[in-house]
């Protein structure tokens, strides 16, 4: 076995419950994003583009669609003889074993995997971020600073800082303080949830954390603060570029809509740093003679006969005649029949909206509230249904 310099551990097991209907049937990293992508595409593509060819994907919640999407990793060129993509589910041993209890615990339980490749460095990644980042630059920084733990950071607006893990650093970029979701943030330097550890440091940290019964076994909440306390060399690498956490309906919607702007990284085909995706093969999309499309993204395999503005239409979507879509995200394989209108909504994969429905209708009372309407995957909306803005439509669960 060829020893790897850097192995990636990709945390993809979270439930993503704040994405509501979008994660009812699939893990968050497998949720469709910006038409043809799924959220995990960005992290996996970053690995490929950063020459990291050994990736452990830690899965737990609703793994089937995620696993089948990742496959052998060939869509991201990660099917190589030196490492490749390894799906790592929770497992039972002879005497121990349990569900993953926190991000750190998930990595701890799979230490055998890391030991197998015996890497000098381990990079911890998250499967629910949208960004394009060359990890080799961060690794270079890590080596230059003789750092033991390096956190990737980004500047966020101060008013939003309390949603993130916030760092305070000295003039040498060394981290002096780390607070997870502070009420009164000291700075606007936020952790992106991307960490590089020296192999030995990570192992020690995980073992120490395992024995701490008060710990919630979380990298942000426990490991990083504890390692700072015991005086480890922790540094902050400043990432400049686009990075979004898409953990909530609002942030997911915003991040999708931002991709409609000029100059967004997704709109620029960069042959040196491609975002790969495991796409279905579809013919080009067909635009009918009654269609009107403005400021929108349209994917392969669509048929558009209606009006689409400021929206993102995923692959294989059918937009019937007289349909009007505004400020919405239509996920793959959705069918919208004649005369329906959709406003500020997210329509889940394979959902079918029969004719003359009104999704995201303005509320008669209290119209100041304008929420994002979400229709769950595979949902069928019967003819003429009116769904008020801000409603989230889920199916009742079969028992």
């Amino acid at each position: 076995m060829k020893r790897q310099e850097c192995v990636a551990m990709l945390l993809a097991g979270g439930q993503g419950s704040r994405l509501g209907g979008l994660t009812r049937n699939r893990a968050k990293p497998a949720v469709s994003f910006c038409g043809k992508y799924r959220i995990i595409d960005f992290t996996l593509s970053n690995c490929t583009n950063s020459s990291i060819n050994t990736v452990g994907v830690l899965i737990q919640y609703k793994p089937f669609l995620l696993n089948s999407y990742i496959g052998l990793g060939s869509a991201w060129d990660l099917d190589n003889p030196f490492g490749g993509v390894h799906i790592l589910p929770p497992f039972l041993g002879e005497t121990e074993g349990s569900w993953y209890n926190g991000t750190a615990n998930a990595v701890y339980q799979n230490y055998e995997f890391i030991d197998y490749y015996d890497p000098e460095y381990v990079i911890i990644l998250s499967g629910d971020h949208v960004y394009k980042m060359d990890y080799t630059l961060m690794l270079k920084f890590h080596k230059e600073k003789k750092s033991e733990i390096t956190l990737a950071t980004i500047q966020v607006p101060l008013e939003e800082a309390s949603r993130f893990g916030i760092l305070t650093i000295d003039s040498d970029s060394r981290v002096t303080k780390f607070t997870e979701k502070p009420v009164h943030p000291e700075s606007n330097l936020a952790s992106m949830g991307v960490y590089i550890f020296n192999g030995t440091t990570l192992k020690q940290a995980l073992i120490a954390d395992k024995d701490d019964y008060l710990s919630q076994n979380d990298f942000g909440k426990n490991i990083i603060p504890h390692q700072l306390n015991i005086g480890k060399r922790v540094f902050a690498y400043k990432f400049e570029g686009y990075w979004r956490d898409v953990g909530t309906i609002e942030s997911y919607y915003q991040a999708n809509m931002e991709s409609l702007k000029d100059g967004h990284f997704l709109n620029i085909f960069d042959p040196k740093f491609r975002i790969f995706s495991n796409e279905d093969i579809f013919p080009p999309h067909f635009v009918g003679s009654t269609a009107e499309i403005e400021n929108s993204l349209i994917c392969n395999g669509c048929t558009v006969h209606g009006k689409v503005s400021n929206s993102i239409i995923g692959p294989g979507v059918y937009v019937g005649e007289g349909v009007e879509i505004r400020d919405s995200i239509i996920l793959p394989y959705v069918k919208l029949h004649k005369g329906s209108s959709v406003h500020r909504a997210i329509i889940g994969e394979n959902a079918e909206i029969m004719s003359h429905c009104n999704i995201g209708a303005e509320r008669k009372i209290g119209s100041a509230h304008e929420g994002i309407t979400v229709i769950e995957d595979y949902h069928l909306i019967t003819e003429g249904t009116v769904i008020e803005a801000g409603k989230h439509i889920y199916r009742s669960r079969a028992i």
Partner: protein
């Protein structure tokens, strides 16, 4: 598992494509927004369960290999079988009338010898179709046929001159005679057009190669035709759409046919997909000024102009105020502001500067060669 291997003759060229086939075989000409003509034959074979496919390549095979790689996007990168490149004889590209040249097969005899399957499915690589050969394979087996010729009861596209061979069948679908359409005097004969796809017993094919291989360029169809009495030859019908691309008019018309939903339904919207090289382009971006009607648009484009009755390939940039009408715009073309095209085919990476007007006609679409700057 299928009891056949496939061979596609991707080496036929044409002087009648006005430069689209100048440095590539017809099989490698881009078609339908994201495909190459060859993709249709290749995908049909793959979708029919054929896992070993040999591709007879022409002298200029770079565009073909660039597109195919190891065949991964057609699921042909495998341990057992896969995609095999069969270099054809040099002189077969330009102007050759032969469809299936025996010499090309003799050059690659080992490909046929080393396999142990019963049959070989042979198709030309210059046709647009989406066919599942499972029925034909069954038919071939049930009839204990030596050769099965696939035919279409009528020519769906009225392209007169190309499908030159008509079949005359007896009551049991057995082929009694092959007729050359042009020299045919009997008007009463049913128009059963042979579509350049044949299924033949591998052993028989090896015998034919051994016997006729040394005589210069013999055509397999002619050999079959002249041995019609001794061979067990059957005709198997197909209802799928088939369009042969030989002239620029064929190319233009078959492309424009795609704007018809019925054609797309038969070709693309069924269970069997047409596979092609995946490029991982982002979705196509429409700006506020975009105006598109009755057109096919591939991924990775940026559209700010007007597009009517046209086909736009991957990665095309259409600036504000430009107007694309009845045209085919191949990958990575860039049309600057206020330029106009009508009945025009732009080959790959053509740049049309501001305010230019390019105009062809229905019967004579204007073709602009690869990488031209206008």
């Amino acid at each position: 598992m299928s009891n056949a291997i496939g061979i596609i003759f991707a080496n036929s060229g044409s002087d009648n494509l006005q430069g689209l086939a100048l440095d590539r075989p017809i099989a490698a000409v881009p078609f339908g927004g994201r495909y190459r003509i060859l993709d249709f034959a290749l995908s049909s074979m793959v979708n029919s369960g054929i896992r070993t496919i040999g591709l007879v390549t022409p002298h200029q095979y770079r565009p073909l290999l660039d597109h195919l790689g190891a065949g991964k996007d057609w699921f042909l990168e495998r341990k057992d079988g896969g995609l095999f490149i069969l270099p054809g004889v040099m002189h077969s590209l330009a102007g050759s009338k032969d469809t299936f040249c025996i010499k090309d097969l003799q050059n690659n005899l080992e490909f046929l010898q080393k396999d142990y399957v019963e049959n070989v499915l042979i198709s030309s690589g210059d046709q647009i179709y989406n066919m599942n050969f499972k029925d034909t394979l069954e038919f071939h087996r049930d009839k204990h046929a030596d050769v099965t010729l696939i035919y279409k009861a009528e020519n769906p596209f009225d392209d007169g001159s190309h499908n030159q061979i008509l079949l005359e069948l007896d009551g049991d679908q057995k082929v009694a005679k092959l007729h050359d359409k042009n020299s045919l005097e009997r008007e009463d004969l049913a128009q059963l057009h042979f579509v350049n796809i044949i299924l033949i017993r591998r052993e028989l094919l090896l015998d034919i190669i051994e016997k006729y291989g040394s005589y210069g360029c013999n055509d397999l169809i002619e050999i079959i035709s002249s041995n019609i009495e001794v061979l067990n030859i059957f005709g198997s019908p197909t209802n799928s759409l088939i369009g042969t691309i030989h002239t620029i008019k064929d190319y233009f018309d078959r492309s424009m046919d795609l704007l018809d939903l019925r054609v797309r339904e038969q070709l693309w919207l069924g269970v069997d997909r047409t596979h092609t090289k995946i490029v991982d382009n982002p979705p196509t971006k429409y700006t506020l000024q975009a105006k598109v009607s009755n057109s096919l648009i591939a991924s990775g484009c940026s559209i700010a102009g007007e597009v009517i009755n046209s086909i736009v390939f991957r990665g095309v940039i259409l600036e504000q105020g430009c107007r694309i009408q009845n045209s085919i715009i191949m990958p990575k073309c860039h049309i600057h502001a206020n330029a106009k095209t009508n009945y025009t085919i732009l080959d790959k990476s053509v740049i049309v500067q501001r305010e230019n007007v390019l105009k062809g006609s229905v019967n004579h679409p204007l073709v602009v060669l690869k990488k031209t700057v206008i």
